[in-house]
């Protein structure tokens, strides 16, 4: 009787060992390098004369006005850099992505500095965590306004100077969520929540969408004033694809 019990215990133990070993092996294979991922690079340009950007009067918030004393700031609805490069355009895979929703692991930061949002436009994955920080000596209220009645919900939180960061995420795709501060009505920014890899264009309008497996995709570029443009892109194994976008000034 005792012997049988012992035998059973050994059997159970060995089964557990085999299972755990199998689990470890399976985890390792998941962590192994993904099959020849590639990237999509390109430039976003603006054709024509960019619309006038109004200067922002921050005299009601002297601490912020002081930050911009040397370099007065304007609205950022259309930001054109060198050679007509269009900044703050989010480029993402609107069709063809079959991987996990959250492709990017490290959470970006949404800072409030000099009564402006930095970055002005932020790309995010569904459920990707991000931090909201306040580097100003004044209070802000962070008020993201997703489409009413949609799967993402509006919230509104005060963040006084020196307050700890707010860590949060968005549960669903949305292009794009307008963020404002009611205390400083000139503050405006956008969070673009997508599934899979994305890139945001820099000062020269260049972007890079990384971690794209070979395949056929629809690539969408979204700009806050001009809306979205799409094009088909084929990505081959180990060979970066190129895609350029041109928006026309209205």
């Amino acid at each position: 009787m005792k012997k049988q019990l012992l035998f059973k215990a050994i059997l159970a133990l060995s089964a557990a060992l085999i299972l755990s070993a199998a689990w470890m092996v399976s985890q390792r294979s998941v962590k192994a390098a993904p099959p020849s991922e590639s990237s999509i690079t390109g430039t976003v340009k603006l054709e024509g004369t960019p619309p006038h950007q109004r200067p922002i009067d921050m005299s009601k918030e002297p601490s912020c006005a002081a930050v911009h004393k040397a370099n007065p700031v304007t609205t950022e609805n259309v930001v054109v850099g060198t050679d007509g490069g269009l900044k703050n355009v989010v480029v993402y895979l609107s069709e063809g992505w079959s991987g996990p929703e959250t492709a990017v692991s490290s959470g970006p930061n949404w800072d409030q500095h000099g009564c402006q949002y930095i970055p002005h436009v932020m790309g995010l994955d569904v459920n990707q965590h991000f931090k909201v920080t306040n580097s100003d000596p004044t209070s802000h209220n962070i008020h993201p306004m997703p489409k009413p009645g949609g799967p993402n919900h509006e919230w509104n939180k005060s963040q006084p100077s020196g307050a700890p960061p707010i860590d949060t995420s968005w549960p669903a795709e949305e292009v794009a969520i307008h963020v404002k501060c009611n205390i400083h009505p000139w503050m405006s920014g956008y969070m673009v929540v997508v599934k899979g890899p994305y890139g945001v264009s820099d000062d020269s309008g260049s972007f890079k969408v990384e971690g794209v497996p070979p395949g056929n995709y629809t690539l969408t570029a979204w700009q806050e004033t001009y809306g979205a443009q799409t094009q088909k892109v084929t990505v081959a194994a180990g060979k970066p694809a190129t895609a350029n976008f041109t928006f026309k000034a209205k």
């Binding site: 509006e154 919230w155 509104n156 939180k157 700890p164 707010i166």
Partner: protein, 300 residues
């Protein structure tokens, strides 16, 4: 040829009509499902189905038959009636961005909303009111997929002291309540004129000198809850992340000194000779720690 065309048209029409009927049936079926919504508060269970008549009679005039806030009276009303299909509510005991509890909605309908066209519905029985809450909930699917947020905890109200009122004023300055509500709470802060609600309609901050009651209640606990949870859909944010319960009570006591009616707090402030804050002075680093209760500064 002609008859063939006619036949085809008839067929197409029949198909369309059939699709229309089946679509209507689907939505009717869905409506039937939605009307299964319940609400629970005060040991009462509300059934949406039982409230259909009362909703049409008492609520639809402003909130609309479809619950979209587009009732026939809506154009004449400011602030606008709530759009129930969006499931965003001002008066909550739950964190910003979450659904209110059934009890929150039950309290709102009983109390009415100050400075708006929403009266108190206490003349209806509590069963009728909880049924109406279930009906309000049946307009949005959000109630099927989400649970209300965890209600914030409100600790027992401490004794009001002169030190607490002074500390409350420091909190008022530190949190920059005055940016909208004004240094004296007269709704004339530098940002007051620029405020808009979530539908981009102009909205005014609360004037503490104007009203004895607040949007979401009139007690000290109501006031505590209002600034801790914020009023969703308006510029009023939640302060819960950055205000400790002690500080929150201090702020409640200070806000009471601004109101038009006689309050114990106002009396103390008068004795202290409390001056309005000076927003140009550097903001204090942090509120002084709450002092142990001293009774000598209290009025007799």
């Amino acid at each position: 040829m002609r008859t063939q065309m006619l036949k085809f048209a008839a067929c197409a029409l029949a198909v369309l009509a059939f699709a229309g009927i089946s679509f209507a049936q689907v939505t009717e079926y869905q409506e039937e499902q939605n009307l299964g919504m319940e609400a629970h508060a005060d040991h009462l269970t509300g059934h949406a189905k039982s409230a259909a008549m009362n909703y049409r009679r008492y609520c639809a005039g402003c909130h609309g038959v479809l619950g979209d806030g587009e009732g026939e009276n809506a154009v004449w009303i400011d602030p606008k009636p709530r759009n129930f299909t969006l499931a965003t509510f001002k008066c909550r005991s739950t964190p910003s961005g979450t659904l209110p509890t059934d009890e929150d909605l039950f309290n709102t309908i009983g109390r009415g909303l100050e400075a708006s066209n929403m009266p108190s519905w206490n003349p209806l029985s509590s069963q009728q009111r909880i049924d109406l809450i279930a009906y309000v909930k049946h307009f949005s699917d959000r109630w099927k997929t989400e649970k209300p947020g965890p209600p914030i905890e409100i600790p027992t109200e401490p004794e009001v002291t002169a030190d607490r009122i002074k500390a409350g004023q420091v909190v008022f300055q530190k949190l920059e309540c005055w940016k909208c509500h004004g240094v004296e709470g007269r709704a004339n802060g530098p940002s007051a004129d620029t405020l808009t609600d979530d539908q981009n309609r102009p909205i005014k901050p609360f004037n503490f000198h104007d009203q004895t009651r607040f949007k979401c209640g009139s007690t000290d606990r109501d006031l505590y809850r209002i600034f801790m949870t914020g009023l969703d859909g308006t510029p009023m944010p939640s302060f819960a992340d950055n205000v400790k319960p002690e500080e929150a009570w201090d702020l409640v006591f200070y806000l009471r000194t601004l109101q038009p009616m006689h309050t114990k707090e106002k009396e103390i402030a008068k004795q202290l000779g409390l001056k309005p804050i000076n927003p140009n002075a550097p903001a204090p680093a942090s509120a002084p720690a709450p002092q142990p209760q001293t009774n000598d500064t209290k009025p007799q």
